[in-house]
């Protein structure tokens, strides 16, 4: 590797502007004549709209326009859709209720937008929004998914009787039942995966501009996938035709999934710009973020694990109810199905699996993918169950796992996935050594002498990244392909621009993608510019989520680089009068291998553009594009071990040590990978100990601010001990698997397994707040 090539800890090029306050976010954008949008939102969880009186608001100072759901309907703006079709086990399609960007008839969650006020200043817009008089006829609300399925529950959508969206299954039920019939031991658990609010640092924002002169639209938006936004806006929402719409996602301050989806506010800003004739900007405040950003998780599961007398797993049964909230968000259907049940085999050879998933409407904020998306839920179910089984059987949790590890690859699970590579013993061994598991009992005794309860918990996760191939996801109901595109433009002076369909909102692409060039040609990363997030610059792309930018996005770049390299070699061979097979490129030089005959990289690039002396028939220029469609998912895996101390008097848990041993395949920038793991673990510990959405019976969001919703803070976390093991995936040219979500996927069960080990009862739900742990301890006596 070169000093800045693959495997180098190159400092992030983008950090200078971020840490000096020079990032340019949507709210920093300003265009002449711009006005501000403020939304009128439902205060009720469920109500019929009697009428919307905008008269008073329209005459308020500074008001440019007040628009309602009726106006939106009148203009033919389409309803929001879920882009992944899932069928129930009886073959019927999922039951999608209508979701207009501004409600005209019924509101189904607190915070749903009913009208928008556009005014010259934000304060004037807020004043006028308060003057919009909406009459509501309140309806009964239902918040919990299981209750929404009960007979007599309030009904949300006429399209979905009984609030059931679909009743789906995966695996072989008969085979699994048969496996359980022969079990020596069955472990059963009731598992709740708590609902979370993503809370990226930057709230969502949108600036829509309609240019009447060109009949052209521009949308600046906080998006993880601007091309998908453009496609959906034009193909489904009729806001603007695709060729007349430019979507720009500039610097974006974190997404965690919540900025994948196309929300009502973006649609309305574009539409309102055309209606009012002025550019319209909206920036979410934090309360709106709590009330409208797609929430994550919210599963309730009954799980059963069957083992034989030798502690080999015979089968797994999972029955899950997933709360999707009031409407089906863009990828909501895929999260509790193809991103969840397909991972239920974990790292284990499980000969029979059956999973049943029912998804349900409730009067809550829509739920969609949030860092990990389905895989944290699967990992939590399986790893809580494995740890519990080990305790019930009186064997070490590590040994039970070891006994059941998959060791031969490729391995076909009972739930669709074919694992291509892995070494689960390696990560388990590395984590156990780093965590000094052998010395734990001594530490537990020492803690007990101080009146503290120590516990150790483990989690062996596997997840799937780079959702693909497109043909496969298409057959499973995806409305889009999940490939990626890239273009590599070499300038006449030899500097390089990478145009990518991936989108960076914290991942460090400007650095890691440039490292590919450093590796390939020996150029400094400063000579490389990574361009992303603008549909006018990058032809198409699927964006960034599901830890796909490395495995899929970088693979597309590699494919384009192969073409650039081949052409550069042809040119050099021609100039040096050598065979192109003898040409090598390194250290910024193009040489005949084994000789001192060489050209500077820039000389070859200039030759490509002057066209003075190119091989016969060759087109000038040095620019290549590629579309890359993966052959398979990639499967990052690892072992996490958490050690906690519980104060029995207050129930407060302190995480004393957290060890992560991850196998991400080939690592491009170890520093950035470490950062991803740190952030993921922080979010996972947040879910396990601190974060959790709470609604009251009427459907009011109780945890609607940081005063009540607990985000992890630095002092809630120990110094993480992280390391990587490496098995390269054969499924992409770089052998890399993805690291963006692993921390959040693998850590919650490790934390809860540690606490339950400390307190001696399994009866504990996330977040394990001091109050809950204290109450659980009371039941142990």
């Amino acid at each position: 590797m070169g000093v800045e090539g693959i495997g180098a800890k190159v400092l992030r090029k983008e950090d200078r502007r971020f840490i000096t306050g020079r990032g340019r976010y949507v709210d920093d954008m300003s265009v002449p004549g711009m006005a501000y949008a403020v939304f009128v939102r439902s205060p009720h969880a469920h109500a019929k709209i009697g009428g919307v009186d905008t008269g008073a608001a329209k005459s308020m100072p500074g008001v440019v326009g007040v628009l309602t759901g009726e106006d939106l309907r009148g203009d033919g703006i389409g309803n929001l859709i879920c882009g992944w079709m899932v069928h129930s086990k009886d073959g019927s399609p999922m039951k999608m209720g209508a979701w207009p960007a501004l409600a005209a008839d019924v509101v189904r969650h607190v915070g749903q937008a009913v009208a928008v006020v556009v005014a010259r200043s934000r304060d004037e817009a807020r004043d006028a929004a308060e003057a919009v008089a909406v009459t509501y006829e309140e309806l009964p609300a239902v918040i919990e998914a299981a209750k929404a399925l009960e007979p007599g529950a309030p009904q949300l959508h006429p399209e979905a009787p009984g609030n059931l969206i679909f009743d789906w299954e995966l695996g072989d039920k008969a085979k699994t039942d048969a496996a359980f019939a022969g079990a020596a031991h069955v472990t059963k658990l009731h598992i709740v995966n708590n609902r979370l609010v993503p809370n990226p640092l930057e709230p969502r924002a949108a600036l829509g501009q309609y240019d009447a002169a060109d009949d052209h639209y521009t949308l600046w938006t906080t998006s993880q996938n601007p091309h998908v936004a453009r496609l959906v806006m034009s193909a489904f929402y009729n806001v603007a035709p695709e060729h007349k719409l430019r979507v720009i996602a500039p610097d974006v301050g974190g997404g965690f999934g919540s900025k994948i989806y196309i929300y009502p506010e973006e649609i309305v800003c574009l539409w309102a710009s055309r209606r009012t004739g002025v550019p319209v900007k909206w920036t979410s405040d934090r309360t709106e973020a709590f009330l409208t950003d797609a929430h994550g998780r919210d599963h309730v599961t009954e799980v059963e694990l069957a083992l034989d007398a030798e502690h080999k797993i015979l089968g797994l049964k999972v029955d899950t109810i997933a709360n999707l909230g009031a409407y089906m968000s863009l990828f909501s259907s895929s999260v509790p199905t193809y991103l969840y049940a397909t991972l239920l085999s974990g790292q284990y050879d499980i000969p029979a699996i059956h999973a049943n998933v029912r998804t349900v409407y409730t009067n809550t904020v829509p739920v969609d993918a949030y860092r990990g998306a389905g895989r944290p839920e699967a990992t939590y179910v399986l790893e809580r169950t494995m740890e519990t089984a080990a305790r019930e059987l009186g064997v070490s949790p590590a040994e039970l796992r070891r006994k059941n590890f998959i060791r031969s690859f490729p391995y076909q699970t009972q739930v669709i996935m074919t694992y291509d590579a892995g070494d689960f013993d390696a990560s388990l061994n590395a984590a156990m050594a780093a965590a000094d598991v052998a010395g734990f009992e001594a530490r537990r005794t020492e803690a007990a002498a101080k009146g503290k309860l120590r516990g150790l918990g483990m989690s062996c996760y596997i997840e799937a990244c780079g959702i693909a191939p497109s043909k496969a996801v298409g057959s499973l109901g995806a409305g889009v392909g999940l490939w990626e595109s890239a273009e590599v433009r070499v300038n006449p002076v030899g500097t390089v621009e990478i145009l990518t369909g991936s989108h960076s909102h914290g991942q460090g692409h400007e650095t890691t993608f440039a490292q590919l060039i450093a590796e390939r040609f020996g150029l400094p990363v400063d000579n490389v510019q990574v361009i992303h997030g603008d549909t006018d610059k990058v032809q198409f792309g699927m964006g960034t989520y599901g830890s796909r930018s490395g495995a899929v996005g970088m693979s597309a770049i590699v494919k384009a680089l192969d073409k650039v390299e081949a052409k550069a070699k042809k040119i050099a061979a021609h100039l040096l009068e050598a065979d192109e097979g003898d040409i090598e490129i390194s250290g910024g030089e193009v040489r005949i291998a084994g000789t001192d005959r060489k050209l500077g990289w820039h000389e070859v690039c200039l030759a490509a553009y002057t066209g003075h002396n190119l091989p016969d028939g060759m087109e000038p220029g040095l620019k290549e594009g590629a579309f890359y469609d993966p052959q398979n998912f990639t499967f990052p895996a690892g072992c996490y071990i958490c050690e906690v101390e519980v104060d029995p008097e207050t129930g407060k848990t302190e995480v004393l040590q957290f060890v992560a041993a991850d196998d991400f395949g080939r690592v491009i920038n170890p520093m950035i990978v470490e950062g991803q793991v740190h952030g993921g673990i922080a979010q996972g510990i947040g879910q396990a100990l601190l974060e959790g959405v709470s609604y009251d019976e009427a459907g009011q969001l109780v945890t609607a601010s940081f005063m009540d919703y607990t985000m992890p803070r630095a002092y809630d976390l120990p110094n993480f001990v992280v390391s990587t093991t490496e098995t390269r995936t054969p499924s992409n040219p770089l052998g890399m698997k993805g690291c963006g979500e692993a921390g959040a996927i693998g850590s919650p069960p490790a934390v809860i397994n540690a606490i339950t080990d400390a307190i001696g009862t399994n009866d504990l739900t996330m977040p394990a707040t001091p109050q809950k742990v204290w109450a659980a301890l009371k039941t142990v006596g």
């Binding site: 304060d123 008097e649 207050t650 204290w774």
Partner: protein, 266 residues
Amino acid sequence: MYETTYHRASSVADAVRIAGESGGEGKFLSGGMTLLPTMKQRLAAPSDLIDLRHVPEMKGIAVDARRVCIGGGMTHGEIAESADIRAVAPGFAELAGLIGDPAVRHMGTIGGSVANNDPAADYPAALLALDGLIHTDRREVPAADFFRGLFETALEEGEIVTAVSFEAPDASAYEKFRNPASRYAMCGAYVARRGTDVRVGVTGAGADGVFRWSAAEQALTQTFDPAALDRLTVDAGLMLSDLHGSSIYRANLVTVVTKRAVAKVA
């Protein structure tokens, strides 16, 4: 935020005059740590904001022998770092240093906190336990009479907390258990001992706000040792209950944090 008129008061008398002219719709602004966020959320709409942060009479800390007098305009940070207070009442300085975060301690003031009487504020517990006095522009009110429930005080319309004072105890300490989200006190106990006489002020837990835990005071007056509280609990029925802590949990915390406060100075 709704439109409001900002005034910078130059003296206590000036502030009282402006408040009178605002017709009862004005509000005094000190550190603004509660008022400004409330206004930003449009949950408060004072016609006038009368800024007390530049009133010289409300500045300063005076320690005369063991009498401590703190200007209402002093910030938590200034109190936490005051060598004079640390010398005679380190427990009180420690409490100030545990309020909020550095930004809050830099802006928030003791006068503002006392006048607001948030049920989870820290100072009220200490002032009750210390038998403190609340000085206003027109009178002095003993802490026991001043704090009157959730966000309620003895303050009259337009009355300003100009200072607080107390006699430094022989020993005092504060212990709090924080609300995980807001970091306010879910339960905080201030224990003050003068000779054998012990007072305990408890904040964050009581359904009616800050209170003195007299049973604990009696037990500690007999034996100033955490073990004296081993079998004592407050009535859970009188405790606050919310998302973060049920009344039963808070009742448990009262005993735990009081014992831990005692342990610091026993």
